[in-house]
């Protein structure tokens, strides 16, 4: 915005400041500098050093200001406070201020007029209503300049509050306008404040996020500022890993915040329903900060959370032990390693009861014998011996078969097998054919005798099963076959 009252400022040497705003530094221009002891010293210095305290001069490079912007900002002065003394915040306030004036110039100017005329009109109204100076008087001219600076500084305050809002600083600075007559405030609100509010609401996103250093300072001074960010992290919860990471980042920018322990404590409570290990880790972070604070509170997790975290009293005892050790050694790494083991299944010791084993073995022996008897060969010939536990040279069962002596009867097969004529004839047929017979040939052979193939083979297998403990005649693809070893066992070898 262009200064339209340069003449007035040149003559301001003779005017006493009646604005009551000591902190507002009004730009009188380089030629209208107030003559006072401090300024007399400044007068000997270079122009740059003389103007260093002025905002426009100070930020001309940082904000790449134009000449007009420098002059404009030189007319401003901050009411110093913890917030705007942070350089990053101050820069954001000034940028927002400059953007707002651009917005006024661009979007709020009356038809066929510059926006500056709006300010001039408002200034004139204020002078008339508040001071009633003659238009040509020196007072009028001086006051005109002064009021315009007041308006600009009021806008600067609105911008600061806007930046504070963006940075989640709930406390605002007083931004009441100096003049309270309804005729003035109505017009001022309508022409300036409402438009400024619209701009600030729409354009607050243009304020850059506070950088790391700024956040640390802001969090140190505004101890509840973390809550908004924490609420956001909680509402955006997706996994315990990312939650823990976000809490770490939040804690990092709150490292100078006296409420840092509360952040960890709350985080530990929240995550307890999702991830027990993460909850315990965060609780130990809380403990670490609590231990290093002036007063060790050792806040306990609530009973319901403890119940949720520890399903057995053993787990709770382990946890208590780790806490007590940590208080002594303050070693977070060791504590975390111990915490990792709390939820691991406890190694169960296997208890073998010798007397119970004896009982099981005794019962098993009885059952095994009973089953063995049932499964043993029913019609075993008395002198058939099966060696039991001694390993044999070959895996087949060895039989010592003694042929019962019957006078006058001579048979190729053991008499005790009780093979009938048909069965003997079939076995002979197998022997004659080298123990392998094509199934179709065998069927033909059986048909000549009007006998069923399956029934005959089954009757032989069934008769000999108890002796051989296996099937004698088997199907093998297109053949019926007999195992030679089995066959030999059937023969009468006298």
């Amino acid at each position: 915005m262009e200064n339209t009252n340069t003449n007035a400022s040149r003559e301001s040497d003779f005017i006493i400041d009646v604005s009551d705003l000591q902190e507002v530094q009004i730009n009188y221009g380089s030629q209208t500098f107030v003559d006072n002891p401090s300024n007399s010293r400044s007068r000997t210095e270079t122009p740059i050093s003389r103007n260093e305290w002025r905002i426009g001069q100070k930020y001309c490079k940082k904000l790449s200001l134009s000449e007009n912007q420098i002059n404009l900002l030189d007319r401003l002065a901050f009411n110093n406070n913890v917030f705007n003394e942070i350089d990053f915040c101050r820069v954001q306030i000034l940028k927002q201020f400059l953007r707002m004036l651009d917005y006024f110039d661009r979007d709020c100017k009356p038809v066929n007029r510059a926006y500056a005329t709006v300010l001039d009109e408002l200034t004139e109204i204020i002078i008339v209503l508040e001071y009633n100076y003659r238009r040509e008087s020196l007072n009028y001219k001086y006051t005109f300049e002064s009021i315009q600076s007041e308006i600009l500084n009021h806008l600067l305050k609105l911008c600061e509050n806007n930046v504070r809002e963006v940075y989640a600083i709930k406390r605002k600075i007083n931004a009441d306008f100096k003049y309270t007559k309804p005729e003035i405030t109505d017009k001022y609100n309508k022409k300036i404040v409402l438009k400024a509010d619209v701009f600030l609401e729409i354009n607050k996103h243009q304020v850059l996020d506070a950088d790391h250093r700024t956040n640390i300072i802001l969090n140190e001074t505004t101890t509840n500022r973390w809550k908004d960010k924490y609420e956001y992290i909680v509402s955006d919860y997706s996994s315990s890993v990312s939650f823990e990471r976000e809490i770490e980042r939040l804690a990092e920018v709150n490292r100078k915040n006296p409420s840092l322990d509360t952040i960890y404590y709350e985080a530990s409570k929240f995550i307890s329903t999702y991830d027990k290990n993460a909850s315990l880790r965060l609780y130990f972070h809380y403990l670490e900060i609590d231990l290093n604070s002036s007063k060790f509170d050792r806040k306990q997790l609530t009973k319901s959370i403890q119940k949720n975290l520890f399903s057995t009293s053993e787990q709770f005892e382990d946890f208590e032990n780790i806490v007590n050790e940590f208080i002594l050694n303050k070693n977070l790494k060791i504590a975390f390693e111990s915490l990792n083991k709390i939820y691991l299944p406890k190694r169960k010791k296997l208890v073998i009861d010798r007397s119970e084993i004896d009982r099981v073995q005794k019962l098993d022996l009885e059952t095994s014998q009973k089953l063995g008897d049932l499964l043993a060969d029913e019609n075993e010939v008395p002198d058939v011996q099966v060696s039991d536990l001694i390993p044999q040279d070959d895996d087949n069962i060895q039989f010592n078969v003694t042929k019962p002596i019957e006078a006058g009867v001579s048979s190729k097969y053991l008499h005790c097998l009780n093979l009938n004529d048909t069965q003997q004839e079939v076995l002979d047929y197998f022997e004659k054919n080298g123990m392998n017979i094509l199934q179709s040939d065998f069927e033909d052979f059986m048909r000549t005798k009007q006998l069923f193939v399956s029934a005959t083979l089954e009757s032989i297998n069934d008769t000999l099963y108890d002796v051989l403990d296996d099937v004698l005649i088997e199907e093998d693809e297109d053949y019926f076959i007999i195992n030679n070893e089995y066959f030999k066992k059937l023969l009468n070898n006298d």
Partner: protein, 438 residues
């Protein structure tokens, strides 16, 4: 520790258990911790042999040993001259249906008929021929005809009549068609008409879908269907007993598939069928029949979908109220299989080590303490409490013995440490979640 183990049994035990299945022979050596159940099974078999009929429900969680017990029953029953048939319930077969799913179960049973000399199933033709041979012999004896002459052309009608008469004597329902089909089987064989013989077998196995087809092929008006298959099973039972067998044992596993039937009315009809089988057996309406069902606790006790949802069955199958974990009653129709405890598994592993050494003619350096350490490792692995079954413990133990046998210097503790527990349970819950109640 073990007496009378045969080399063949040892090999079968080690090979089968390493492969995660029950061995065909030698089961008596590994029935540790199942003394009471075995006694109950033996008693039941004895009763059935004496003419009674029994239904037993073997109930236990995954890995509790249901299939092992059925296998043991199989082995003992076959040795006791029972005809045995095994079948699993599946989503496509069931006890009651009107869309052919029951006759599929019947066909599965008939396909799996096993006897001692044909333990792997498929023994139906053998049994039929054996029975016909017996009828032929009996006819010859009754008519004073020489055995060498009875098979001649002139006596064929006599044999046919004899088959029909015998079948009619031993059967009650559907006996005429049943007898006629057996006569067709006989004709097929005598006349060398393989197609006729096969068609007769097809009829007996319930594989004819329509009456027309059966009439064309065999001249028989009826077929085995969803409504008469149970009568046919009873007929076969009588036939087998007539042949000299001790009885007919039918083992039906995976009964959870009945629990999974989504339509409550159909599910109830199936439970009603179980009730009628139960009543037949225990009221003496059928002789020498032994039917075993194996299923999970849900199949039995779930009040919404299990057998207990059917009040008449619940009252029959509820546990003896005086029974406890310590005091068991194994005479009940329901036998609940408790998981083996640590002591029993210890004894079992010790026996397996003995059998392993016997089988490989070796003496491995594995002490009782090593077995304890192995077990401790197993039971402390993540997931052990949920998934660990004796099958997995045994398989891992034998695998480790195999490694030690081939690498005597291997670090046993390292081997134990490498054990991992996997969840081998069928994903029933996911399936059940997807079932909508109609």
């Amino acid at each position: 520790m073990i007496s009378n183990i045969k080399p063949k049994e040892a090999t079968s035990i080690i090979n089968s258990l390493t492969g995660g299945v029950v061995p065909k022979i030698g089961v008596q050596h590994i029935a540790v911790g199942r003394s009471e159940e075995v006694n109950a099974a033996i008693t039941s078999l004895e009763e059935v042999k004496n003419g009674h009929s029994i239904v037993k429900f073997w109930i236990g969680d995954f890995g509790s040993g249901k299939s092992f017990m059925l296998h043991l029953l199989n082995t003992v029953a076959m040795k006791q001259k029972f005809v045995v048939a095994n079948a699993d319930f599946t989503p496509d077969n069931r006890l009651y249906s009107n869309d052919g799913k029951s006759v599929i179960l019947y066909s599965a049973i008939m396909d799996n008929i096993a006897i001692q000399t044909k333990p792997e199933g498929g023994a139906l033709p053998i049994l039929l021929e054996k029975w016909i041979e017996q009828v032929i012999s009996r006819t010859a004896e009754e008519n004073k005809i020489l055995l060498t002459d009875i098979r001649s052309e002139q006596y064929r009608d006599l044999i046919r009549n004899s088959i029909m008469r015998t079948v009619n004597e031993i059967t009650e329902v559907g006996g005429f068609d049943f007898g006629s089909v057996i006569v067709k089987y006989y004709d097929g064989y005598i006349n060398n008409d393989e197609l006729l013989r096969r068609n007769a077998l097809k009829w007996l196995k319930g594989e004819y879908a329509t009456k027309t087809e059966a009439r064309q092929d065999l001249g028989i008006r009826e077929i085995i269907n969803d409504s008469n298959y149970y009568d046919m099973l009873k007929n076969f039972c009588k036939l087998f007993v007539n042949m000299g067998y001790s009885g007919f044992m039918i083992n039906l596993d995976e009964a959870i598939n009945l629990y999974k039937i989504s339509t409550s009315a159909v599910r109830e009809k199936n439970f009603e069928k179980i009730l009628s089988i139960y009543n037949d057996c225990f009221q003496g309406k059928v002789s020498n029949l032994f039917i075993n069902f194996a299923g999970t606790k849900d199949f039995l006790e779930n009040e919404r979908r299990g057998l207990f949802s059917y009040k008449a069955l619940k009252s029959r199958l509820e546990s003896n109220k005086f029974e406890s974990l310590e005091i068991r009653d194994y005479a009940q129709p329901v036998i609940k299989l408790q998981p083996l405890d640590h002591n029993e598994i210890f004894v079992l592993l010790k026996k397996l080590k003995f059998i392993f050494n016997f089988n490989y003619k070796t003496e491995l350096n594995v002490s009782d303490d090593d077995i304890s350490v192995f077990m401790e490792e197993m039971f402390n692995k993540p997931g052990a409490s949920e998934f660990l079954t004796p099958r997995e413990v045994i398989r891992d133990f034998l695998n480790i013995l195999n490694i030690i046998r081939q690498n005597p210097d291997v670090d046993k503790k390292r081997l134990f440490g490498e054990i991992e527990i996997s969840d081998e349970r069928p994903n029933d819950l996911a399936i059940l979640d997807s079932i909508e109640e109609l």
